[in-house]
């Protein structure tokens, strides 16, 4: 049995703003019968551009109905621009939280709101269309949507992504791809969190130097090696000596020395310091190439 908060139960048993608005300004429809939940949201604006009236109809479980009801309560009376900033987290928070596996219900609310706003701005009554490349074909989830739930909710596992937007919850065939998206976003996050780059000419502190080397490997070197089925790990930094290990295809490659000199060392010298000298971790390399 799901552990729903009293607020979820209350909004499920007594949902607010159920129904339709015949002359709505914006209508958003998301989800489908096949997916197990669907939401139709419509709003009417007043002369100042505030949401005067909002109604919904939902097919789905208790948390889907409660999330829809909560969304309508949140945005009622809001100026449209402000409503556009409502996130799935706002909906979940309003309800005192949702079970992790039900977070996708709050995401559906946010999606319907976006679709309705888009519909209002576009003026057409056409159904919300998927934007971008579809990653999960079982539930029709796009790369853009996956990126968005990862960003907005700070997700870092495939399981979480499935809980938040269903992607990967059907046949599971796209789980590898979701993992790659997470990796990419984590790389971007690490970049943002990195210690501020030192002013040109200033001496790097040890921690800055190591971070810069790691960043260079992540952004400049690893993507190039991945293309050939290889990978690289930073093992240690000792003064100007950088020790790395080549993985995957690179580890068995006869041209590994050239890779080390022309790519790994060249890039680290370019981005960190010209005095750097890169060495490959010896034992692992020898073992694998035997």
């Amino acid at each position: 049995m799901w552990e729903y908060t009293d607020k979820v139960r209350e909004h499920f048993f007594n949902p607010r703003n159920v129904g339709e608005i015949p002359d709505a300004d914006g209508v958003g429809e998301v989800g489908s019968l096949a997916c197990g939940d669907a939401l139709k949201l419509m709003f009417k604006l007043d002369e100042k551009g505030r949401i005067k009236d909002v109604k919904f109809k939902t097919f789905g479980c208790a948390s889907a109905i409660a999330s829809s009801s909560a969304l309508t309560e949140i945005i009622k009376g809001m100026p449209l621009e402000e409503a556009a900033k409502v996130t799935n987290k706002d909906i979940a928070d309003y309800l005192g939280g949702l079970p992790e596996q039900k977070m996708h219900c709050s995401v559906m609310g946010r999606e319907a709101l976006e679709a309705a706003i888009e519909n209002y701005k576009g003026g057409s009554k056409k159904k919300h269309e998927l934007e971008g490349r579809v990653v999960c074909t079982c539930f029709g989830v796009t790369e853009k949507e996956i990126e968005r739930v990862i960003h907005e909710n700070n997700l870092d596992t495939v399981e979480q992504v499935t809980n938040y937007c269903k992607a990967g919850g059907g046949c599971g065939g796209c789980k590898g791809e979701i993992e790659k998206i997470i990796e990419r976003i984590e790389g971007e996050r690490a970049k943002q969190k990195a210690v501020p780059a030192p002013a040109k000419g200033q001496k790097l502190t040890n921690i800055q130097k190591i971070q810069l080397i790691q960043q260079t490997i992540n952004e400049q070197i690893r993507p190039a090696l991945r293309g050939d089925g290889g990978n690289i790990d930073l093992i240690d930094v000792d003064g100007n000596k950088v020790i790395v290990a080549l993985r995957g295809m690179c580890a068995q490659c006869a041209l590994a020395n050239i890779t080390m000199r022309d790519l790994v060392e060249a890039k680290i010298r370019e981005f960190v310091s010209p005095d750097i000298c890169v060495e490959e971790q010896k034992d692992s390399a020898d073992e694998q190439r035997k």
Binding site: W2, R9, F12, F13, P15, V18, E29, L33, A34, C35, G36, D37, A38, L39, K40, K57, T58, F59, G60, C61, A62, S63, A64, I65, Q101, K102, F139, T162, K166, G169, G170
Partner: protein
């Protein structure tokens, strides 16, 4: 609030008579049946009696009964034990609608390199026996097909299947967890080699099951570590559980026809009442060949978890094949195998009764359901006024 329990395929109430029977075996008669002293030995005698009572319900010899920890353990033992005993055969035949206790094991075997055939079912959940026959060959170690489906109650013609499989010299196992106590079974007149049952589905406590192994059937033990159950299932016996299961089998046998007749008439009344009062709903499964206690009804265009929560407010316990209730994102594998459309699969509710249900409970439920269904349909964007 009174609980109205219509979820007996999930688990059942321990019968009062069973509880009375097992009470002394916790604090007073707690001896180990393997011990040499009289104190333990008297417990051994009770286990022997429980074995005899269980054998009587199944129509087999007491020596063919192995007590296990649960139905799932019985299934695992039957499947893995048979394959281990027939190392040269690499194929297993099962169905798409098995309980996960069988299906997950088979899919794991597939990953290990076994050939696994999952037989399809038709719209009513029925098997095509000629399809089964076409797959039987010298490489097949085991056919494992459930007696009755836990979700829809559909009963497979297991006796005929067993004859067909036996004729080819292949071992046949059936997961009879839902069938025992509801359908007459006489293993002495059957070709079934292995049969699993679970105590808590027939008013015994949780944590005890049986694997019936026909005399002469080769089976490698699953649990090693002791001489219990003739070396076929090591581990100190769950004494109260086993004694309780024996008593539950005795009770099931006592009023078998009368009780199942009563349960069936209540189930039929509930089903008819719901179908008459609610538009756009349908029964899932084979109504011609079905457990007497189970009714699986799909309410179109609404979602099962929402229905369950609304029923829960009235103390009515049922279950659903919808995606949301399972924690997975897809509806029941059984309903999908039957080709039940998504419009109906997400809104499926299973009512499963027992001898403890009353006509009042059925009437109360028939009264409460139509407004719930109507209310959820008001909320559904797929209903056009």
């Amino acid at each position: 609030m009174k609980t109205i329990y219509f979820d007996n395929n999930a688990t059942t109430k321990v019968a009062d008579e069973v509880l009375e029977e097992i009470k002394p075996y916790f604090c007073d008669l707690y001896g180990n049946p393997s011990s040499m002293h009289t104190f333990g030995g008297q417990v051994g005698i009770k286990i022997r009696e429980a074995r005899e009572k269980s054998a009587a319900l199944l129509g087999c010899d007491p020596s063919e009964i192995i007590f296990t920890g649960c139905g799932t353990e019985s299934d695992n033992t039957a499947i893995k034990g048979t394959l281990a005993a027939h190392p040269n055969r690499r194929k297993v035949i099962t169905t798409r609608v098995e309980h996960p206790a069988v299906l997950s094991v088979c899919r794991d075997l597939e990953n290990q390199g076994y050939i696994v055939v999952e037989l399809a079912v038709d719209k009513k959940g029925r098997l095509n026996l000629s399809e089964l026959e076409s797959h039987l060959d010298d490489n097949t170690a085991l056919v494992t097909i459930m007696f009755a489906n836990n979700e829809t109650g559909t009963v497979f013609p297991v006796e005929r299947i067993a004859d067909m499989v036996k004729a080819k010299g292949i071992v046949f196992h059936t997961d009879a967890v839902q069938a025992v106590g509801k359908i007459p079974i006489n293993l002495s007149k059957s070709s079934i080699d292995l049969l699993s049952l679970s105590g808590h589905k027939l008013h015994a406590p949780k944590g005890v099951g049986i694997l019936y192994v026909r005399k002469g059937t080769r089976l490698a033990p699953f649990m090693l570590g002791g001489h219990q159950e003739g070396g076929r299932r090591a581990g100190t016996e769950n004494v109260p559980g086993i004694i309780g299961l024996g008593k539950a089998c005795e009770l099931a046998m006592k009023n078998f026809d009368q009780e199942n007749k009563k349960v069936k008439s209540l189930r039929d009344k509930l089903e008819k009442g719901i179908l008459a009062e609610c538009p756009d709903c349908m029964v899932n499964g084979d109504t011609e060949s079905r457990l007497p206690n189970t009714s699986n009804i799909s309410f179109e265009l609404i979602e099962g978890e929402a229905i369950l929560l609304m029923l829960d407010r009235f103390g009515i316990c049922a279950s659903s094949g919808s995606a949301c209730t399972s924690g997975s994102l897809e509806p029941s594998h059984v309903l999908r195998a039957m080709g039940v459309p998504f419009t109906a699969a997400h809104g499926s509710i299973r009512f499963s009764l027992s001898r403890y249900n009353t006509e009042e409970e059925v009437d109360f439920t028939i009264e409460k359901i139509p407004p719930i269904i109507a209310r959820l349909r008001e909320l559904s964007p797929f209903i056009k006024k």
